[in-house]
């Protein structure tokens, strides 16, 4: 049931991005849209072909898209090197451990380990940015929160996945499904929300006498 719901919610960010295309132009949100689209296609393809290699390839593509999103989103030049270095490390590990037989636990775990600090870094940049008055009026904040929660929740699951029994795997996979749904809802929120003009808040608070 939860698995089905997770599949269904995969469509939501794609639909909302396309409906509110005008609102979502710029800010590198197209990368997230592309990620959502590829994620859905991967799930469909896996259902049809039942080949583990699809997920292994998707993990590499997914991390590339995340790295690109963080590279676009990070404003400070010195931070921009981080996703590049992270991507290089990830590619080395992912390619050397590339497998088409079992779940690519190591690559996915490394992906989570790298994405979590990226999210913290981007959140840190957002709270430091004086042009952002309320972070939660910012589309990117919701995107970051979506991935931050998803990868934090599934980190231990991915690390220990290969050591779990088949029964345990199916039980614990509920965590992945639940946070996948949450991630898709949060991404949908990001795509639905209006491009916020943070300046209006400042002008609203200015004393008309001055």
């Amino acid at each position: 049931m939860l698995q089905l719901l997770a599949y269904f919610t995969e469509i939501l960010p794609i639909i909302f991005y396309l409906i509110f295309l005008k609102r979502n132009r710029g800010e590198g949100l197209w990368v997230i849209f592309l990620y959502s689209l590829l994620s859905l296609l991967t799930e469909l393809l896996f259902e049809i072909l039942q080949r583990q290699i699809i997920y292994s390839i998707f993990t590499i593509v997914e991390f590339t898209l995340f790295s690109l999103f963080f590279y676009i989103s990070l404003k400070e030049k010195r931070f921009k090197y981080i996703p590049i270095i992270g991507a290089l490390i990830f590619y080395i590990v992912a390619i050397s451990n590339f497998t088409n037989k079992k779940f690519d636990s190591l690559s996915v775990s490394l992906e989570s380990i790298l994405i979590i600090p990226y999210c913290i870094l981007l959140l840190y940049e957002q709270i430091k940015d004086p042009s952002i008055i309320f972070v939660y009026y910012n589309k990117k904040f919701w995107v970051i929160i979506a991935f931050f929660l998803y990868f934090s929740a599934t980190l231990f699951l991915y690390i220990y996945y290969s050591t779990l029994s088949a029964e345990q795997r199916s039980n614990y996979w509920l965590i992945n499904n639940f946070f996948e749904i949450l991630k898709n809802i949060l991404l949908s929120i990001a795509f639905i929300m209006k491009k916020n003009d943070q300046r209006s808040y400042l002008t609203d608070n200015l004393d008309p006498d001055i």
Binding site: I127, V135, S152, L155, N171, Y172, I210
Partner: protein
């Protein structure tokens, strides 16, 4: 199901996985909540600062409006109380009956009227000079300040001197007037409140900065006093100084000399070209 597995002591992996996930989630949610609350706190603080700044601007604006009104009242009073009666008296001398008087009385009346009109011209000139000192307009800040200090010294009550070290190029006329008014206000305060026996003014430049320093040996104020007076409803003159300097993006510092004998007031301004750049930015 997950809980059941966790409670099974054999499944240590499950335990690590369960508590690891819970821990990570707790940390993540905690961090997000912290960011949101921290940001709200920062915004509240910024708004508070903004409000303080607005209040300060209001005070300065009120001070400058009050000063303008006082200046208008003074000019109105000068015109009404001095020029008005003088012109009325001149009119009396030149009334219609003048043609019926004998020639010597006529001449005397015309002479008296001329005297009164001369006095009125002088009075109007004085009013005009108080609005824009002619020395300042024609010869610049250095001459106007020297003139002001010579007048103070000439009165014999105080020794006043000024020295401009680096003032080869004049500032813009309106900026010179603002600086002159600030100096006038400061000197006025020293004369009124300090009981000083001397005032010395020096002008210097350093890099893109333009400095004017005033020293006196009387009772003065420090920066803390200045800030307090600026925030209170008293100290109209000081607020006026502040608002004038704001126009020039200038700063003013009040301090006691290292020797603790003199009070020092430093006016710091950015040179005009840099100031224009700052304004554009």
């Amino acid at each position: 199901m997950i809980i059941l597995e966790v409670t099974n002591p054999a499944s240590s992996v499950s335990l690590v996985l369960f508590f690891g996930t819970i821990g990570m989630l707790a940390l993540t949610i905690g961090l997000i909540v912290f960011i949101i609350f921290h940001q709200r706190k920062v915004i509240r603080y910024q708004l508070k600062l903004q409000r303080i700044e607005q209040d300060q601007q209001k005070l300065l604006l009120n001070a400058s409006i009050r000063l303008q009104e006082e200046e208008r009242q003074r000019i109105a009073a000068d015109l009404h109380d001095d020029a008005g009666p003088l012109l009325a008296t001149a009119r009396l001398y030149l009334n219609e009956n003048l043609v019926n008087l004998d020639k010597s009385t006529q001449l005397q009346s015309i002479y008296n009227a001329k005297q009164i009109i001369d006095d009125t011209i002088q009075l109007i000139r004085n009013i005009s000079h108080s609005l824009m000192p002619p020395t300042l307009k024609n010869f610049g800040l250095e001459s106007a300040v020297n003139d002001l200090f010579q007048k103070i010294s000439g009165s014999g009550s105080m020794n006043a001197s000024s020295r401009f070290h680096d003032y080869k190029e004049r500032l813009q006329a309106e900026n010179e007037l603002i600086i002159f008014r600030v100096i006038q206000e400061l000197v006025n305060n020293i004369l009124k409140h300090s009981n000083a026996s001397f005032i010395h003014l020096t002008q210097n430049t350093s890099g893109n900065k333009f400095f004017i320093r005033l020293h006196h040996d009387g009772r003065g104020i420090t920066q803390n006093d200045f800030n307090k007076l600026n925030k209170s409803n008293v100290g109209l003159g000081l607020k006026n100084i502040q608002s004038r300097l704001k126009v020039l993006h200038g700063k003013i510092f009040f301090e006691k000399d290292m020797s603790q004998t003199y009070y020092k007031v430093t006016i710091e301004l950015i040179k005009e070209e840099d100031n224009k750049l700052a304004e554009r930015e």
